[in-house]
């Protein structure tokens, strides 16, 4: 039992150390040989504990809790980078542990860039990106701020006039652009919303002061405005992303094997891998970046979670309630 307490305390300090060094370094640290030896020792001692301490087997809650921990540790070790290397050595199974895929709209690919950003491996099937969409919360807003800190948040409603007070006048949004562009036609400039691939969101804003001429300005989401000395306001255009959706198709042996629209929290599962919406083309929204993760060991980890939770809830809550009910009935 002393050993168990010592291992728990050591893991506690290991966790705190990992928190201080950051996620990337912690992940690398945890895969080093001495720490792997610690995990292996922890796992073996948990199994040994179940054999030596009869109480852990006799008491159902304790059995579930400790067996659950065995499953979680074993599953986590099996699903790690070292676990995948061991699988390749023992069983010849060569799976990608983690990687990323960048796929352009209308194209398919089966190349995965591994975590080290150097190696590229191929999947036994390809993934086609039918379409990539970004959705924004409505309404979008135009933010207005004066030099003395007074501010307004105006919903983007075309041709609706909003008062800013007697000192500042009114503001009206005349047009919203998805892809603002200036074209030159002969000697004149023309402002268009370019339907070609690209993303330069902008608003055409008309400000009418209490006494004076109305002026039109363009406010760009991606480019901060340049304030002139005579400007009373700083204007900014902000949209909040509500969702990113990649419409995917899995092609295997020249046939469509699966189709799914993936979003954050809704990955695609196929061929022993999970595909996650990871990132996207922030410039023009023309490609998606998928995270590819092997599902090896996941079922074991999840089984461990179930056993741990049921064991803890049974041992600390339910068995007392059941005992009381039995006592009452007796």
């Amino acid at each position: 039992m002393w050993v168990a307490l010592a291992l728990i305390v050591f893991l506690l300090f290991l966790s705190i150390y990992g928190a201080f060094i950051g996620a990337a370094r912690a992940k690398s640290f945890i895969s080093r040989l001495p720490v792997v030896a610690y995990w292996s020792a922890f796992l073996l001692l948990l199994i040994l504990g179940l054999v030596v301490f009869r109480r852990l087997v006799r008491v159902p809650g304790l059995l579930l809790i400790h067996t659950g921990c065995v499953f979680i540790l074993a599953g986590a070790m099996w699903s790690s980078e070292n676990g995948h290397k061991l699988q390749k050595k023992l069983f010849g199974i060569d799976k990608i542990t983690t990687g990323q895929m960048r796929i352009h709209e209308g194209h398919s690919d089966n190349h995965v860039i591994l975590e080290d950003n150097k190696q590229i491996k191929e999947l036994p099937f390809s993934i086609e990106l039918k379409d990539f969409q970004i959705e924004y919360y409505k309404p979008e807003y135009l933010h207005i701020q004066t030099r003395d800190g007074q501010g307004w948040r105006i919903p983007v409603e075309i041709d609706t006039e909003f008062p800013l007070g007697p000192e500042f006048g009114t503001v009206k949004i005349l047009k919203a652009f998805e892809n603002f562009k200036i074209t030159i036609e002969g000697e004149s400039k023309k402002i268009i919303d370019d339907p070609q691939p690209g993303s330069n969101p902008a608003l055409e804003v008309q400000i009418t002061p209490p006494q004076g001429q109305a002026t039109n300005r363009y406010v760009f989401e991606r480019f901060g405005g340049h304030a002139r000395p005579e400007d009373k306001f700083a204007l900014s255009y902000r949209r909040v992303i509500s969702d990113y959706i990649s419409r995917l198709r899995i092609i295997k042996d020249n046939k469509v094997a699966a189709e799914k629209d993936i979003e954050v929290n809704h990955p695609l599962s196929f061929g022993g891998y999970h595909f996650y919406q990871h990132s996207y083309d922030a410039e023009a929204g023309q490609y998606t970046v998928l995270m590819v993760v092997s599902n090896t060991g996941l079922a074991v980890v999840y089984a461990g979670y179930w056993m741990l939770c049921i064991g803890v809830i049974w041992h600390l809550w339910l068995r007392h309630i059941v005992a009381r009910i039995k006592l009452k009935n007796a």
Partner: protein, 263 residues
């Protein structure tokens, strides 16, 4: 620190005032009045939480302001501990309620935020809610542990458990919730980011908090009867880890990570 001149702010200040009046009234041995004020404060806290929910149009557990607003609804935990577990510290709970609402009322930014894609999951509410419930229960356990170290016990007429046993009983209630919160977070991480364990500082401090209580149970089983004060020290250490997990990780630049949306 800033005073919030809004309906939300006024509701929080009213709740704090009700809880503090309840606490003072209880100390002056007017328990019935104290109980009524406590219940009144809870009603305002619930209304305040509901008002925020209506205002942001999603369950308000996204940032520290909303989380601490939720923690202010402590009354059901108090009542449960008093009536079912036979644990004292009812008056101290009023003070806990006022303390947790203080940063919501004066410190944290209350600007409403829309949910980013990562938080748009059915797991968002159970993961955070379960954790917040466990934190408030462990806070109550910490008060009992401090009472045990200070040598203070309940009135013999009150039929309440001694502080060390009370600490144990409360931790037995809170620990499964802590475990559930950890597991739900891991499962959600897998769904959202592809990794059930990303070695993120928040995850590691959550694990550390959980491990302190695992250590508490093991130590108490082995040596609890001989060293009851060390049992209490474990419980207090657990609360320290929880405070670091909840506050320091979110607010300090020392721990950047995936959970930074919680600030």
């Amino acid at each position: 620190m800033e005073i919030k001149y809004s309906i939300q702010g006024l509701l929080i200040y009213a709740t704090i005032a009700a809880y503090l009046c309840a606490f003072v009234t209880s100390l002056l041995r007017r328990e019935k009045t104290g109980h009524i004020l406590y219940l009144f404060g809870f009603a305002i806290a619930v209304f305040s939480f509901g008002y925020r929910w209506y205002h942001v149009r999603h369950v308000p557990l996204q940032n520290l302001f909303e989380v601490f607003l939720c923690l202010g609804m402590i009354y059901p935990v108090s009542l449960f501990c008093r009536r079912i577990l036979r644990v004292g510290g009812y008056s101290a709970d009023m003070l806990i309620g006022a303390i947790v609402l203080f940063p919501a009322g004066f410190v944290f930014n209350a600007e409403p935020q829309q949910l980013p894609p990562a938080l748009q999951s059915w797991l968002f509410t159970p993961h955070v809610a379960v954790y917040m419930l466990s934190y408030i229960i462990m806070a109550k356990a910490t008060f009992q542990a401090i009472s045990q170290l200070a040598g203070k016990g309940p009135n013999p007429n009150e039929n309440l458990l001694p502080p060390e046993q009370a600490t144990y009983r409360i931790i037995c209630i809170g620990f499964p919730l802590l475990t559930l919160g950890l597991v739900l977070g891991s499962y959600w991480g897998k769904k959202a980011w592809g990794d059930y364990w990303g070695w993120d500082p928040k995850e590691l401090w959550s694990l550390a908090s959980w491990l302190v209580y695992v250590g508490y149970f093991h130590f108490r089983y082995m040596f609890g009867k001989k060293h009851p004060r060390i049992n209490s020290a474990w419980a207090i250490a657990g609360m320290a880890a929880i405070i670091i997990t909840l506050l320091w990780v979110n607010l300090s630049r020392l721990f950047p990570g995936l959970h930074s949306y919680a600030t």
